[in-house]
């Protein structure tokens, strides 16, 4: 437990110290890279809530990343630049879509659930492609970043970095609270034994649906930040490769551990970064690496460093 706290402390300090360090070393690119990782880590944290703790293998979590991003893009397109409205709409729209998709797909289980969440996300992807007003297949540049008057300016890369870091830490904390609440226990119980959970008076459906909606809403926030990060929205955000990568972030880090997804996101995206530096055809190396990690590396990074929480 102590070693664990010390490790987290060091990791946290490194993250806080990164922007001044990178600037001093004349490598502002790293601020950009880690900011992207932090934002995607938020998405992975939200996926972990349903995948790791709820046992719901959603292969369509990229949908909410896309919805969050499109909320920012579309509102900006129509001249609404207020960041709080952006966030509110991103959260609301993601939650609404998650409620609709979840209501249908949580009725099924196993392989059906995987295929259905994937199919619905693909549907949204095609919807994004057919939205010609908002750039269609090519996507669209943001008119302006989300504006939080006086509070923070997202055009400042370092300030935005700390915003991403802060939101990520907030979401780690939130997930921790959710998972260890009465609601979280019911959710985890349904994962470990559905029949018993039902027998003691906790029918899984409402708990799973609620978790699905919460996870969607959290990922919507990540999407809104991501749109601000790239300054660009494209249907590609909802493509199924994105969903697959998000699952890997969770799995590599270690399912059902509060901070595992953060580790996993760092691991996956840093590996990708290194491979991209080697060769244009980096995926030909990443693919087999991922297969090997599934076959031999079952408990993820968190499994090496710590005992799992759940």
């Amino acid at each position: 437990m102590r070693a664990r706290l010390i490790l987290w402390g060091i990791a946290g300090l490194l993250l806080v110290a990164l922007p001044p360090l990178a600037t001093a070393l004349g490598q502002p690119y790293y601020v950009d890279l880690v900011r992207r990782i932090l934002i995607l880590a938020i998405a992975a944290i939200s996926l972990n809530l349903i995948l790791g703790y709820g046992g719901l293998v959603s292969f369509g979590h990229a949908a909410y990343l896309g919805i969050g991003a499109y909320a920012v893009g579309i509102l900006g397109f129509h001249g609404i630049a207020n960041g709080w409205i952006h966030l509110l709409v991103a959260i609301g729209a993601s939650a609404l879509v998650a409620a609709a998709i979840g209501a249908v797909s949580i009725r099924t289980s196993g392989i059906y659930f995987i295929m259905i969440t994937l199919a619905f996300t693909q549907m949204l992807y095609y919807l994004g492609i057919s939205l010609d007003v908002y750039g269609g297949d090519d996507g669209m540049r943001l008119r302006s970043r989300s504006q939080f008057a006086g509070l923070v300016d997202l055009r400042d890369p370092v300030a935005f970095y700390y915003v991403a870091l802060g939101v990520m830490l907030l979401f780690v904390f939130l997930t921790y609270r959710i998972v260890n609440s009465r609601f979280g226990m019911a959710l985890r119980a349904a994962k470990s034994n559905e029949a018993r959970s039902r027998a003691i008076g906790f029918p899984p459906y409402p708990y799973r649906l609620a978790a699905f909606i919460i996870a969607g809403a959290m990922c919507g926030v990540a999407g809104a930040l991501y749109a601000n990060h790239t300054g660009y929205i494209t249907p590609g955000l909802m493509a199924w490769h994105q969903s697959g990568e998000m699952m890997f972030m969770v799995i590599l880090g270690g399912m059902a551990s509060t901070a595992g997804p953060v580790l996993g996101t760092f691991a996956l995206l840093l590996i990708e970064e290194v491979l991209k530096g080697w060769t244009e055809h980096w995926q030909v190396i990443l693919g087999p690496l991922l297969v090997l990690s599934v076959v031999f590396f079952r408990r993820g990074l968190a499994g090496i460093f710590f005992k799992p929480d759940a």
């Binding site: 293998v57 059906y112 259905i116 919807l127 697959g244 980096w282 030909v284 693919g287 599934v294």
Partner: protein, 305 residues
Amino acid sequence: MSWALVFEQLLNGLQYGVMLFLMAAGLTLVFGIMNLVNLAHGSLYMVGAYLAAAATQWTGNYLLGVALGLAGTLVVGMAVEVIALRTLYERDHLDQVLATFGLILFFNELIAIVWGRAPLYSSLPPWLQGHIKLFAGSTYPVYRAAVIVVGLLVAALLWYVVTRTRLGMLIRAGASNRTMVGALGVNIKLLYTVVFGCGAALAGLAGLMAGPIYAVQPGMGELILIQVFVVIVIGGIGSIRGALVGAIIVGVVDTLGRAFLKPLLGTMIPPTAAEAAGPALASMLIYLLMAVVLAVKPAGLFANR
């Protein structure tokens, strides 16, 4: 909108449907028997298309190219099963999905390395070009008609193999109780590899038939794979009959939707709105259909497990 046009689009839907069926049959067989979710099934479709196109160019003979493409996909499929997937049968679906996702990245990039990212266009021999006459002066491309015939023949062959032969008996037995089949002295490992190879060859057949109609390019397999998932969810997983019915429903609905939804909407709402909503709704149609089927029958139309 003339009836000849509707009929032609119905045939196009049928043609797309039989291709979806070839994919769905392999996927559902592999799931039914080995309990394996294989996302890389779309990669085998792509491999079939590329191998056949390359072999046709190399030999200069279309039929020889098709034969080599099929054989090649069969071998690639068996190799993938032996090297990568064998260890995953006992794992849960999550691990299978993730590992086969890794395989997709690998195959897409490998194809891009060998053949480049630009779409490949394959040419047809003269006897498959041209049109056949239908009723009332309308015509239909020979090649698409040939795809329908081949697809239906393969469906019949598959039905014969599964219900009337020893291999089919083993397949059905394996699907209902694997341990028992193994205990009765059947080489279950070999059976798995053979079934996986056959599924791969079916995907390869779909891919090489798709070549001259759609673009042959890296990632082509994923687009059809997700529609195949919709087929399987609608038809009921593990059921070949369900795969056939689901595939034809999805093929026809998708094709008709893309062809007629926009003009149909145009008669009800203002044309500019129809212009925008038509394509969007058409591309979402099969997913909405899937949601409706699931709401009524959560395990699909022909669920047998």
